[in-house]
């Protein structure tokens, strides 16, 4: 079953800006899907069209088999949206905001009260239910928007940069929460600028740039395309010159840190064997850049360069 099917979706704004140039996307039910792209790439426009906040120019969108052209009510019932910008009624109370949202989906009375408590408890906002939204911190407002999007228990949850401006502790907690609701059966589409977030949470990924999908595959498949990786090794003892390694490029960052570039035909064991042979002990190892970030930059750069050249 497809949670989302998009065919040849186009959007031209009144000012002539062609935000989407005919994108195709397909998200399976139960998936945790990343939609990435630089600012202005068309991510928010695509999400706006899927959630009925933006009128499309052309193309087809189906949510769990319901077309937004012919079966909009059913399509809308399947979606929960957490937008990029805070769009809360800041003068209303936390409890009222979530209760009202339940009402807009036809859930009233005791059923609404139970759900409001369930999701405010889950998002750690129950104690603040009588406070106005304006009094919440940035992270709390984000969590309130998630509670609001979940109160009608949608089959498809779309989060447009949900952790933007959220501190690391809350971000990590939100990752766990999103993983849990995905495991419970909710399909999730996530856009984020934190590529570490996409890499750790999402199983599938699409990269959009200038209104076109430039990559759409399994996360593991996409990451395998990475032709080279750069590792930073912390050394147990100081060295004065970078060792010459067969099949690797090594550069000394400082006396205790070595930067090593690995090609696709080499493995890490080979690197450690060579270092051990030279009596260089490694204390720890990390990627110089997030792998997805590196790939993302390469894909976007490739597209922008007419020669297709990389760095």
């Amino acid at each position: 079953m497809k949670a989302l099917s998009i065919k040849n979706l186009t959007k031209v704004y009144a000012n002539g800006n062609q935000a989407l140039k005919g994108i195709d996307l397909s998200v399976n039910a139960g998936d945790f899907y990343a939609l990435l792209g630089p600012n202005g790439a068309g991510k928010t426009t695509a999400i706006g069209i899927i959630s009925s906040l933006v009128n499309k120019t052309g193309g087809e969108v189906e949510i769990f088999g319901h077309s937004i052209d012919t079966d909009l009510e059913a399509a809308k019932s399947c979606i929960g949206l957490v937008p990029q910008e805070v769009n809360l009624n800041l003068w209303d109370t936390v409890g009222n905001i979530v209760t009202n949202q339940a009402g807009y989906y036809g859930i009233g009375g005791k059923s609404a009260r139970l759900r409001v408590e369930k999701y405010l408890q889950a998002l750690r906002l129950w104690d603040r239910r009588n406070d106005i939204a304006r009094s919440l911190s940035g992270g709390m407002k984000r969590r309130l928007m998630i509670a609001r999007a979940l109160v009608h228990e949608p089959k498809l949850l779309i989060l447009d940069e949900p952790t933007a401006g959220v501190d690391i502790e809350i971000r990590r907690w939100m990752w766990g929460f999103l993983k849990d609701i995905n495991e419970a059966g909710t399909t999730i589409i996530l856009t984020t600028h934190y590529l570490e977030e996409a890499e750790s949470l999402c199983r599938d990924i699409a990269i959009i740039d200038e209104g076109l999908i430039i990559e759409d595959a399994k996360m593991s498949t996409v990451l395998r395309k990475l032709q080279r990786e750069v590792f930073v090794l912390s050394l147990a003892t100081e060295i004065s010159t970078a060792p010459v390694l067969d099949g690797f490029k090594a550069r000394l960052r400082n006396n205790c840190e070595l930067e090593v570039e690995k090609g696709p035909d080499r493995d890490i064991n080979d690197l450690f064997d060579q270092l051990s042979a030279r009596e260089i002990k490694v204390v720890s190892l990390r990627n110089k850049a997030n792998r997805l970030e590196e790939l993302f930059m390469r894909l976007v750069k490739n597209k922008q360069s007419p020669s297709g050249g990389t760095e």
Binding site: L53, V54, Y105, G106
Partner: protein, 257 residues
């Protein structure tokens, strides 16, 4: 269309609107009460005594129905335009736009909110009026139906204003430059029989004249116009404005990019 879903959604919007009106009561309920008290004191009590009778009633009695109707009109309009534009401005209108309720439900919920505030303020002004004059209700059904229908008309008009408004200035232009002059020239303070024939004809092009006079007929039993015409005008306005609201919402004018 899922009727049960839409009924709950409409009830939710109405509840939200009532909470809003009561939360900011100092802006929504107190000002019209003060303004109307001043009207009664100055125009009714002080100046009215010198004017004498109007259309067979003492001046205070004559203007009371007009002032009640004026407060209903301005508050119904003001409630919807400020609430819906506020939702657009802070973007929490998106809460409603992403939900599966119909556009008609969004309109009906907000219009009901406008009507409730209009009637609440209208009732308050009526109570204030009773401190200054006696109001015997000649035709209760006409009084109630006219005030209700007029409130619906101006709530719908406020909704359209909010749809087109892009900044806060836009929601005060129509009340200031259209609604207030039409209300003042709509027979609140005088009978059009005092005007020369030409200006009587011009006045009859003002829809508020019909609403004010029909309401006055409901209370005092006297009117400058045919009550049947007033009902026709009210129903035509409601149908036309509601259809316009639905079409504007369907096309996403002012609310969807």
């Amino acid at each position: 269309m899922n009727v049960a879903l839409n009924l709950v959604a409409v009830k939710t919007i109405i509840r939200k609107e009532i909470v809003r009106v009561l939360r900011i009561w100092i802006q929504t309920i107190v000002p019209p009460a003060i303004t109307m008290t001043l009207y009664f004191v100055i125009f009714g009590n002080l100046i009215g005594k010198r004017i004498g009778s109007m259309d067979g009633f003492d001046y205070m009695q004559y203007i009371a129905p007009g002032l009640i109707m004026m407060s209903v009109i301005t508050n119904s309009y003001g409630n919807v335009v400020s609430s819906f534009f506020g939702a657009k401005f802070t973007r929490h209108i998106e809460e409603m736009l992403v939900a599966p309720m119909s556009n008609a439900s969004i309109i009906i919920g907000h219009v009901a909110g406008g009507v409730l505030r209009g009637l609440l303020v209208g009732t308050l002004v009526t109570v204030i009026a009773l401190f200054f004059t006696r109001l015997d209700i000649a035709h209760p059904f006409i009084m109630i139906s006219v005030v209700l229908l007029s409130s619906i008309v101006f709530s719908l008009a406020g909704f359209i204003n909010a749809i087109f408004a892009t900044k806060f200035d836009d929601i005060s232009i129509v009340p200031t430059f259209v609604l207030t002059p039409l209300t003042y020239l709509g027979g609140v303070f005088y009978t059009i029989s005092l005007l020369p024939p030409f200006w009587q004809s011009v006045s009859k092009a003002n829809p508020i004249l019909y609403m004010v006079n029909a309401f006055r007929y409901g209370i005092l039993g006297k009117s400058d116009i045919d009550i049947g015409h007033a009902y026709v005008i009210l129903f035509v306005f409601i149908v036309v404005l509601f259809t316009a609201c639905v079409q504007l919402m369907r096309r996403g004018i002012g609310i969807r990019e």
